[in-house]
Amino acid sequence: MNTEIVFLFLQQGIASGLVTGSVYALLALALVIVFRTTDVANFAEGEFYMAAAYLAFFLIALVGLPIWAAAPAMVVGIAVAAGLFQRVVLRRVAAARGVSVNLVIATLGLSYVLKGFVRATGFGDTPRSFPSVVPDGSVTLGQASLSYLDLAILGAALAVMAAFFAVFNLTRTGRAMRAVGMNRRAAQLVGINLGRTERLVWIFAGGISAVAAILIAPKLLMTAEMGGVVTLAFAAAIVGGFASLPGAVVGGFIIGIAENLVGLFVSTRAINVAPFVIIMLVLIFKPQGLFGGRLRVRKV
């Protein structure tokens, strides 16, 4: 392989990796904000994303809504559903037996329920494609080429991340979310309502997952199993340290770029291996993750 091709592949791999990585970053962000504040690894994250894509599809194809109305309606719908899940299911599980494991199992249950529901409608059996609102065409950056859709995905994902970071770091609500993640008892003592704050975090996580779905859906075929992509979001979150928001975002981009580079330089069949190689490298050289800070021993 001559150097010219190496440079071309590098540029293209990084450019395409930033696009897919931005979607992983959104999903990882949704995972991490829930984990930080509620200590729950949300195994239904992929199914939020899958349900969001199908909800959009139903609204467009069956209800006949134009996409500019269907997209926001769907994002709000999924966000509210995530909030309801916290309120109706998780709160009860926590009250009955407030151990983290039980809450995680509840999210696993939700993931099966959502998959089963989509299959029961009959639409989940055959893969479906999703219409794109972005016109065809592409731009060249250096030697890399990205479609308008790619640019729209990256731009929208970055905008959503920036908006969430602003909420998280600069507002009273965001301060309450950080406080609950840092010290629940202290948060209660300064008058923060734990239940309401956790519910808000779930609502944000649902909304962010839904945005990720609407962005990437036109590039994928929809199936009831599409939530499997969350494995890559978990990988991104682990790379970033699982409790760090910037870590989740950087981790998402790293995984996206690694996949694309492996696809170009090695083989498209090796793509699936890339995230796991990255996880192993991170766990060997920086076990707390790139943004993990100090290692803390948790009481379980």
Partner: protein, 238 residues
């Protein structure tokens, strides 16, 4: 004077463990009351019942005559009760400044909050010096001062202090209690202080309760309790 805080026959526990079996106590408005007792006597549990963190299984807590039954911990802070918890429960990865701001979470008056941060750095000058530092990197004594200031940022009528002297040098204990007494005088705060350091607590308080195995076993004016050698030997290990 009227009682600001009343506990009537409070029972509370953790699962099958009963930690409080019928505790009654009164804190008069503007007073300083000490709650003493050995490890595991139920002092922290008592404060957590007042703060709405542990739900009582029997009995009632009243603030200025109004029952707190059914109120969550956030509503209780908003009603005017703040707690300085034991064990350095600060927000480690927030700056000193943000720890103070979050202490005022229940309030919406921005100007008043900014003014009160000034007031707090007046009482605790060290906090002004550490303003941008992450709270988790401060010394134990500095963290204790931050905790007291954070609790006061809610503008409470009643301040609950859980072992403010724990783990501090005698000099620092004296300093902190001096500030507590000044706060009581200048800010018209009512105080309920939990302590194992009976000497210091009896010296600053007007009235004291001694708790053992979840029950009040002695009570009286602090000066009287302090003079009672047999009582001190029996319950206070001093």
């Amino acid at each position: 004077m009227a009682d600001l805080l009343e506990l009537d026959d409070i029972c509370a526990g953790y699962g099958r463990i009963e930690a409080l079996s019928g505790v009654s106590l009164r804190v008069p408005e503007g007073g300083i009351v000490a709650l003493l007792g050995a490890n595991g006597a139920g002092k922290t549990t008592t404060l957590n019942v007042v703060s709405g963190i542990v739900a009582p299984t029997r009995g009632e807590v009243r603030l200025a005559g109004r029952s707190l039954r059914g109120l969550g911990s956030d509503a209780i802070v908003a009603a005017g009760i703040s707690q300085v918890p034991e064990g350095r429960e600060i927000f480690r990865d927030m700056s000193v400044h943000e720890n103070l701001v979050i202490g005022a979470h229940a309030r919406r008056d921005k100007a008043g909050i900014a003014r009160d941060i000034e007031v707090m750095t007046g009482y605790f000058p060290i906090l002004a010096k550490r303003f941008r530092q992450m709270a988790g990197t401060m010394s134990g004594g500095e963290q204790q001062m931050l905790l007291i200031a954070r609790a006061l940022m809610a503008r409470p009528k009643l301040l609950l202090l859980d072992e403010p002297s724990l783990g501090l040098s005698p000099l620092l204990v004296q300093q902190i209690f001096d500030i507590i007494v000044r706060l009581h005088r200048d800010e018209k705060l009512t105080l309920l202080i939990v302590e194992q350091n009976a000497a210091v607590a009896l010296a600053v308080s007007d009235y004291a309760y001694i708790l053992e195995n979840g029950e009040v076993v002695a009570k009286g004016p602090s000066a009287v309790l302090a003079a009672d050698d047999s009582l001190r030997a029996a319950y206070l290990g001093a």
